[in-house]
């Protein structure tokens, strides 16, 4: 039995997708000016509704099931939905700048981004292996298309092919893991799998399935040793798709990883803690060091993303509620700061730009607004106080010191310093005097200005006054670890 009222947020997004498609078929060209802003406003309104409980949850510790127990709404799932709606709104606004609302295929691109966001919303609520797999693939298939979107550009297609092959292989590994877990536990439901993990922790089939699940998700969050696709996919993808990769796909990976580690496979936590911590430290160092030699902003941001994945893995490696809450706070800080950087990138160049670092020269003079957004975003990523990134790193390192030991904390600080260095290289490039051949900049539109202002405000608010979100994150973490 499915209760549609529990699915109201998801159904609203599906309605929005249909509205955009129909609008694309029937609307006149002149009326398309504010489509991006309208869709983003609808998404943000939904996010506000979800943040207020969406009328589904009576209180923060309630759990509402539907679809034969395959779909769960709790405080954690609701927080995921808020995050997904906001991140999708950012991606849609970026798309309305490059390629622009009157470009062919704008509506399709928006529909695919809404689909990716929808996938993340369902993933946060997944309570059995079918909804887990289908929502993950809903995200992945949309992203293959979004990465390969510029089909007149060989780089974009190449990135799309690579992402497709590696992504599909990761999905196949994940699916094989699911099959083994199903065989060992005798059910697709997370609740029964948890019981099986508690009573039959010596079953080799169950453990092999769990390991394959972790490997498949390691790809999604670009954890070492499954990270190599990231720089290529980021470099070839258009900026809005790159934003969808890092603001939707990667957080979704962490969300389901948290659900698996802290709920479904919680009885095995003594077993997964060590490997997750080691993977986190390796990912962090790889991301921190690999970015040092990059001369292309997109590749550099890919390494930055890898290093942030390392931080979040380290947060998950401390098996406490504070670990989950720290990971959720870090994700929020990452959304706000990376969103600012992507917005500045979209404003600073047209659709086909390569974003080599020297193309940024003179940005500070040509558009102080975009340069300021870039600076603030990079400082947020780097963890300069009082921005949110600083508190995120502080919370994670505190968890790491108490749960994993000083060695891992030292690795975290080392990786953070390495990535801070290459953020400063970007800042230097953006503030340096203009070189010949740097592209001209179109005027910054109103929607882009509003987006940067909102993200910058959020970054400062969440950083200077963490209590504004901490209660909600704490509730989400407690709903997850029951």
């Amino acid at each position: 039995m499915i209760h549609p009222s529990v699915l109201r947020l998801e159904l609203a997004v599906v309605g929005l997708m249909l509205a955009v498609l129909l609008g694309d078929a029937f609307a006149r060209k002149a009326s398309r000016r504010y489509w991006g802003a309208a869709v983003a406003a609808a998404l943000l309104a939904l996010a506000g509704y979800a943040a207020a409980g969406a009328g589904i949850l009576p209180n923060a510790s309630a759990r509402v099931f539907t679809a034969e127990g395959g779909f769960l709404v709790d405080a954690f799932a609701l927080w995921v939905k808020v995050f997904a709606l906001v991140a999708t709104a950012v991606c849609v606004l970026l798309t309305s700048r490059t390629p622009g609302e009157d470009a062919p295929g704008f509506a399709e691109q928006v529909v695919l981004q809404l689909g990716v966001g929808l996938g993340m919303m369902v993933l946060g609520s997944a309570r059995d292996l079918i909804s887990f797999y289908v929502s993950l693939e809903l995200m992945a298939i949309g992203l293959y298309l979004l990465v390969a979107w510029r089909k007149e550009d060989p780089l974009s297609l190449e990135a799309g092919v690579k992402y497709l092959v590696y992504g599909a292989m990761a999905s196949a590994i994940l699916l094989y893991g699911m099959a083994l877990v199903y065989g060992a536990a005798g059910s697709l439901e997370f609740g029964i799998i948890r019981q099986a993990a508690a009573t039959r922790s010596d079953s080799i089939v169950l453990l092999a399935g769990f390991a394959l699940l972790l490997a498949g998700l390691g790809f999604k969050v670009s954890a070492v040793p499954f990270h190599w696709w990231t720089p290529d996919a980021y470099e070839g993808a258009p900026v809005p798709s790159m934003a969808a990769l890092s603001l939707l796909s990667k957080p979704a990976g962490f969300i389901i990883l948290a659900r698996l580690l802290f709920d479904v496979f919680w009885p095995l936590h003594a077993m997964w803690q060590g490997p997750v911590a080691w993977a986190g430290a390796a990912t962090l160092l790889w991301g921190g060091l690999g970015g040092l030699s990059q001369t292309n902003l997109k590749r550099l941001l890919a390494y930055s993303g890898i290093s942030h994945s390392g931080f979040m893995l380290l947060a998950l490696a401390s098996p406490t509620r504070s670990g989950v809450a720290a990971m959720l706070y870090y994700l929020l800080a990452y959304l706000l700061s990376a969103g600012l950087v992507f917005t500045a990138m979209c404003g600073a160049a047209g659709p086909g730009a390569r974003y080599d670092l020297r193309d940024l020269s003179g940005l500070g003079r040509k558009s102080p607004w975009l340069a300021g957004a870039l600076l603030l975003g990079l400082f947020g990523l780097g963890g300069i106080p009082p921005l949110a990134g600083f508190f995120g790193k502080l919370l994670v390192i505190r968890c790491v010191v108490s749960e994993s030991g000083w060695g891992f904390a030292a690795a975290a600080v080392g990786g953070a310093v390495g990535s801070l260095y290459y953020y400063l290289v970007v800042v230097k490039a953006a503030l340096s005097p203009e070189e010949n051949g740097a592209p001209p900049i179109a005027p910054v539109g109103r929607s882009l200005r509003a987006l940067t202002a909102a993200l910058a405000f959020g970054l400062l608010l969440v950083g200077a006054w963490p209590a504004s979100v901490w209660g909600a994150l704490r509730n989400a973490a407690e709903a997850l670890c029951q």
């Binding site: 079918i130 298939i141 297609l157 190449e158 092919v161 497709l164 999905s171 094989y176 059910s187 470099e235």
Partner: protein, 102 residues
Amino acid sequence: MEPPGLNHWLVVSAMLFCIGAAGVVLRRNLLVVLMSLEIMLNAANLALVAFSRYGNGLDGQIFVFFVITVAAAEVAVGLAILVALYRLCGTVRVSDIATLKL
């Protein structure tokens, strides 16, 4: 001769999975790589159906229908990207599309 049991099916499925993975890693033609990916997915399907047949209820077989549907969508997208690539570059060989360094 005894009839095949759960373990036989699981061994076949593991072998199929390894063949598929080897195909993805080793083959140079992207069309064959896509086919190898399908083999990997079908290996998982075979394991699901085998577990379902030998005592785990029908859930696994329902899951397989979802997987088949998703795999069809994935292949449609993959072939679309390959066609676009072939129109632009005139090749679908892995070695010819290595502009982005790994």
